[in-house]
């Protein structure tokens, strides 16, 4: 096999998710007329923005070798906070959730790194903690913001037939991509995730890097909340339930390794699209919600098995 052949098999191996994605799109465009409509595609893109933004933040945490399970309940809480402040002032409705996200992310990161506890357990704790606070915040009630102000522009207006927030999602993804692959901070994340003790000896403060990754994850949740709040102008204490699962599934399906060190925003976008298209197709074929959850569960398990097997092959 010549050099071209080697490169081609490399692409096959490294971008297998992208290839599956393209195959799925081509296949269902041919066989399912309702799939290939413009309306369906726009709808698809509309659905991925919230989870997409959260998944981008999650990707950074996963590459440092941690997980952030708190994103679901942090979403619910920030959603409530955003709308409740928006009732008074649009500007506060944007800035307060962002500031709160920095605090929440810092606390997650600080506890994980300072006390050297498993991030899954810590953020599982904060998942419950913030869902409790979210419930208490409005005593379980659904609240609505003030409609008809500029607060709803991002969520409701369109450009060239596509909602503005879809563009915003892609802009955020590009910024995260640059952060991860073109900056020294992005490189530090990879070093820490690949080998923490080697990174420490090479003078990288791994605790600081991980804490910043957690802050970015929470801030991403806040950005997703702003998109959602702008679209809906309502909030309930349970809007984010299950988001942590969808975000982690997207990241893992995309091919970012749970062992840390390896992954990219591009992979995560592919993962988000894959997950969304599979769910979309299931919906088009009238598969019930219960079955959709079964499919999602099987998908993440398969993705993790593949992740572990690939890693073992590399190690041997």
């Amino acid at each position: 096999m010549g050099i071209k052949g080697i490169k081609f098999t490399n692409i096959l191996r490294n971008q297998s998710q992208l290839i599956i994605l393209i195959l799925l799109i081509v296949m269902f465009s041919i066989f399912t007329p309702s799939f290939r409509t413009t309306g369906n595609f726009v709808n698809l893109l509309k659905q991925i923005t919230v989870i997409g933004v959260i998944s981008c933040g999650m990707t950074l945490v996963v590459i440092t070798g941690c997980l952030d399970l708190s994103v679901g309940s942090v979403f619910s809480l920030l959603n409530l906070v955003s709308i409740s402040f928006q009732q008074r002032n649009n500007f506060l409705g944007i800035i307060i959730p962002l500031l709160l996200a920095v605090v929440i992310g810092f606390l997650n990161g600080f506890i994980v790194t300072k006390f050297k506890v498993n991030s899954i357990i810590v953020t599982l704790g904060s998942l419950s903690l913030y869902s409790g606070i979210a419930l208490l915040y409005t005593n379980g009630a659904i609240i609505s913001g003030v409609t008809g102000t500029w607060f709803g522009v991002i969520g409701r207006s369109k450009l060239l037939g596509i909602p503005i927030h879809v563009y915003i999602f892609f802009i955020i993804a590009i910024i995260y991509h640059i952060l991860l692959s073109k900056t020294t901070f992005g490189r530090q994340i990879k070093y820490v995730g690949t080998n923490t003790s080697a990174a420490e000896i090479a003078g990288i403060r791994s605790n600081r890097v991980r804490t910043i990754a957690f802050i970015i994850s929470s801030v991403s949740v806040a950005l997703a909340v702003l998109i959602y709040s702008s679209r809906m102008t309502t909030a309930s204490p349970v809007t984010g339930v299950g988001f942590e699962f969808d975000a982690i599934t997207a990241v893992v399906i995309g091919g970012t390794s749970l062992a840390g060190g390896k992954g990219s925003i591009f992979k995560t976008i592919v993962g988000v699209l894959l997950l969304a298209i599979i769910i979309n197709i299931l919906t088009l074929y009238n598969v019930t919600y219960g079955f959709q959850n079964i499919v999602k569960g099987i998908l993440i398990i398969i993705a993790i098995i593949i992740d572990v097997r690939v890693r073992k092959r590399i190690e041997s």
Binding site: T184, F185, S197
Partner: protein, 493 residues
Amino acid sequence: MLLEIKKVVKTFPGTVALDEVDFNLKKGEIHAIVGENGAGKSTLMKIISGAYKKDSGTILVDGKETDIGSVEASRAIGISMIYQELENIQKLTVAENVFLGKLPRSRVPGFVNFKKLINETKKILKEFDIEIDPGKKLASLTTAEQQFIEIIKAITVKNARIIIMDEPTSSLTKKEVEKLFLIIKELKRKEISVIYISHRLDEVVGIADRLSVFRDGKNQGVLEKNEFDTNKIVSLMIGHELKTTEKNVFKEQKIIFEIKRLSIRNKIIDFNIKLHEGEILGIAGLMGSGKDELVKSIVGLWPAQSKEIYFLGKRIFIKHPTDAIKYGIIYLPEERKLQALFLDMSVNENISPLWLFNVENKFFLNGKKEIELSKLYIDKLSIKTPAVYTAIIDLSGGNQQKCIFSRMLTIKPKLMILNDPTRGIDVGSKEEIHKIIKELASKGVSILILSSEIQEVARLANKVIVLSKGEIRAEFSEKDVTTENIIRSVMRV
């Protein structure tokens, strides 16, 4: 002959660990093996205990050819290795540990006859004159006592005929060593053979019946008890002094670093040294001498109770390697794979981190500049790699180590602390790395070097400090820095 090893070969990528080694063990004898780290002792023990497979050669047990090949097969033959970090279960009692897997059954199925268990254990302990309550939890015992229990377990449950002890006395007190020797003698009386590996020549000479000296993966000679002579043993261990390479000419001029009153709990007691510009200072000592903890604490990787570091006469504070790097102090860890390499990443990404965050120090990466830097060092240190993008995992150990050296050199270090800089790499690369170290020193870089091979320290260092139990036992400088002097001091002869 109980066990005969004939011309056994074992190779690892890049190194020959055992080169047609011969070894034999009689029934009921205590056979000591001495040799430097890397001489092949551990590899042979791992083959005997079934952890490794030999490449070629023959192994005879009771005159019959056996391959061993697996841990189970080794156990079935009656070979038992006494580990340092013992396999015992801390939460169980002494008696339960001794009979683990063979607990006496009560008449009620599924239950244990505890009375019998305690009595049997008492009986065995008495045979060896060990005064330990069988009902005590293992965790409450001293390391030495736990080791005794491990030995008892080997002969009761596992019916061991051959017991291998690797550095059994490294963490024992003098009294405990005496007790251990009594137990070993009792084993001998019971016609159980013991392979005893140790660095402490004085102990070995006292306890062993025969003694094999290993070097370069070969058995250099078997000495009978009446031939035990420390001079002879040491000369067999050293072999021909490697071609005496020229040492760096070095004049004590400027003191660059000074370390004062460094103490580490249970490891190091009040350590003081001065390092001159261009000086290569070696630290030698056995496992447990505290040398590893000492160098780690200098760069902030191990907590010190007290520590004063002076750089050009000014006190500096180092809590994290980052602080050390600021002053040009850089540490090379001993475990290349675990502590230095970013295995999944490229050669380029493995060379650049220190430069990226300490020299370049920009928010955005400059890929072009980074690759130019890597190429420069690949050229300078003649690293053999297909490309800068090649994954570092695909390089040989020697070339990987040269990448790590490149990484350290990118910050133009003032003091390099090298912990076993040539561990597990081929002879050719070793020579090259020695050359690099000497060149650096001649340009004024101060170097603190530790090695599992005493010869390496002796070849490179201008001055050598021998550590023992956290204190400086001896200091050699200039002409006195010889392998023999250091080995004698380290091994207490």
